[in-house]
Amino acid sequence: MSDIVAMFRGKRRSSDFIPALGFMLPALIGLGIFVVFPGVRGIYLSFTEYNIFRDPEFIGLENYEKALQDPFVWNALWVTLQYVAINIGVQTVFALLLAVLMHRFTKSVWVRGVLLLPYLISNVVVALVWLWLLDYNLGYVNAIIDFIGLDRTPFFGETTAMATIALINVWRHLGYTALLIFAGLLTIPKDVYEAAEVDGSGEWRTFFGVTLPLLRPVMFFVLVITITGSFQIFDTIAVTTGGGPVNATRTFSILITDKAWNSNQFGYAAAISVILMLILIAVALIQMRLLRGNESDLER
């Protein structure tokens, strides 16, 4: 933590602490009651044996020792990483592309509206619709694949399910993510582009040399939001494969839910949650370092 604080101690600042406290107080109270408190309680529970019906019993590090030896936990780490890699990789590249397309080639409000449509539909319904569309025998997608003479694909099979689920969620969140990036593109002042034009900088050089670096704070934001969300993937899997085939889609959230609710090992589930939390914190810190997310190249 001291590291982080040190990172931002650069400039000398006049203190606006008193008004700042006033402004952030409601949010701090909300954070305290609905996140920090249950979070701390969850951390405490991770050191106990607890099913929701009985009082927790302190057992020290036992849950953590068990988790580190549990092949299901390691499997969860592996398949969750697969999901995040596919989901974030594809989504970020496509969203960036889409944002640039929107920025440069269309003035239509409707196009943006249409692209946001999938986000209006709840996760569960989205998963059910795609489960149907992608069915081996009865789905349109395989009917089309068959029609053009290719082999039908079992989209929810052991080797394909994770990628399928990751792409279903790309479908739902692509417009949303693209809009956030698009919003970032609009903050880049026109004089930067004018200067690039005067310099005779080419398409690609402008994009990689000017646009992308200036987008860094937005990309940092988008990536933190999407990656932390992506690690917690639950609904789509619960509706489609429920963690199978075998263990191919048994991600952290599915495992945690199974342990907490189905087999009533709430303490153990809490320990796995804490492990997931530590991973997410580490990922966020790494992102911060790599993207230097708090700095903007634009001095205003």
Binding site: I4, V5, F8, K11, S14, P19, A20, F23, M24, P26, A27, L28, I29, G30, L31, F34, V35, V36, P38, G39, R41, L97, L98, L101, M102, H103, F105, V111, G113, L117, P118, I121, S122, N123, V125, V129, L133, L138, G139, A143, W171, G175, A183, L186, E194, E197, E203, P217, V218, V224, I225, T228, Q232, F234, S253, I256, L280, N294, S296, R300
Partner: protein, 311 residues
């Protein structure tokens, strides 16, 4: 930086960039955009054709391009104007839906929660993005870390807390965790406020404006479109929230939200088949208010920004 509209500067930027477009790039770009739009809409066509089908006849012809046995039945079930017998006969659940009650519950709780959340999140973002004080980034990171707490961790203790303070089965209980902040909103608006033109703020300080005035009359208006962006995105998120209102509000008619009520169209047994037509009709009906919101607010923003002198 707006959701549905563009500022004057953005238009000019687009023109500068537009000058470089060759016909070929333009064509490729439109093809790509068209592809994205097509891929986006394809499942919606499937939802529409399913919603207008008769559930009991659907699986006979799973690859039908048009609705199977066209009927308004599914929408009648969703809107609660079909009788129990009628809906069971068409493959629906016998549950009756008091649609307008649930709809109003959703409108009230979502609107209340989102308005309050965006205001308080913006206030916090002002503290983190505009004001300067020691330790602000450390406190801000608390909000960032809030994103890393797995949701399943929070549902049960929060449910017990709501019960403790006597808000179980009330709309206030459904709204409560959303009302004071959302890490996403704080984070997003902070990023926005970091880019605030400080010379305007400083000028206001010299004029003797206090922070409340600066916040409400300068910073917020300048970031109006971003604030609306957050508002719309969070409105959609809260509207679609399912698990929390199911726990908190599903037992009373006065606190049951639309998404929870529509949950009855889901599968009734582990191996069972949902009322497909009803489910799709429900999903479309539930999305409609947000569609209207987007259209309505989208238009509003266009008007207000073009008149605005503040850059």
């Amino acid at each position: 930086m707006t959701l549905l509209s563009r500022s004057k500067e953005a238009q000019e930027t687009q023109e500068i960039l537009g000058r470089r477009n060759s016909t070929l790039t333009r064509a490729t770009a439109y093809v790509a955009l068209g592809g994205f739009i097509l891929a986006t809409l394809f499942p919606f066509w499937f939802m529409l054709r399913t919603a207008f089908s008769t559930t009991r006849r659907l699986s006979a012809d799973p690859l039908s391009v048009l609705p199977v046995d066209f009927t308004w039945g599914a929408f009648e079930r969703v809107l609660g104007i079909a009788t129990s017998e009628q809906s069971v006969a068409e493959g629906g659940s016998g549950q009756s839906l008091d649609f307008f009650q649930y709809f109003m519950n959703s409108v009230i709780s979502t609107t209340g929660a989102t308005v309050s959340q965006v205001i308080f999140s913006a206030a916090a973002a002002y503290a983190f993005g505009v004001l300067k004080w020691r330790g602000r980034d450390a406190i801000f990171f608390l909000f960032l870390f809030a994103l890393t707490v797995p949701a399943i961790f929070l549902v049960l203790p929060n449910y017990l807390f709501i019960r403790e303070i006597g808000l179980l089965n009330t709309l206030a209980g459904v709204m409560a965790p959303h009302m004071l902040m959302a890490p996403f909103a704080v984070f997003f608006l902070r990023q926005v406020f970091l880019g605030t033109n400080m010379s305007i703020v400083e000028a206001a300080v010299i004029d003797g404006a206090n922070h409340l005035r600066i916040f409400f009359q300068i910073v917020l208006p300048m970031a109006r479109s971003q604030v609306l962006t957050v508002f719309i995105l969070q409105y959609i998120t809260i509207w679609n929230d399912y698990l929390w209102p199911l726990y908190i509000g599903s037992s009373e008619e006065t606190s049951k939200t639309l998404t929870v009520a529509l949950g009855i169209f889901k599968s009734q047994t582990p191996q069972g088949n949902p009322d497909w037509a009803g489910l799709m009709a429900g999903a479309l009906v539930a999305a409609l208010p947000m569609l209207l919101l987007m259209v309505f607010l989208g238009r509003r923003i266009v008007g207000s920004i073009q008149d605005s002198a503040v850059k």
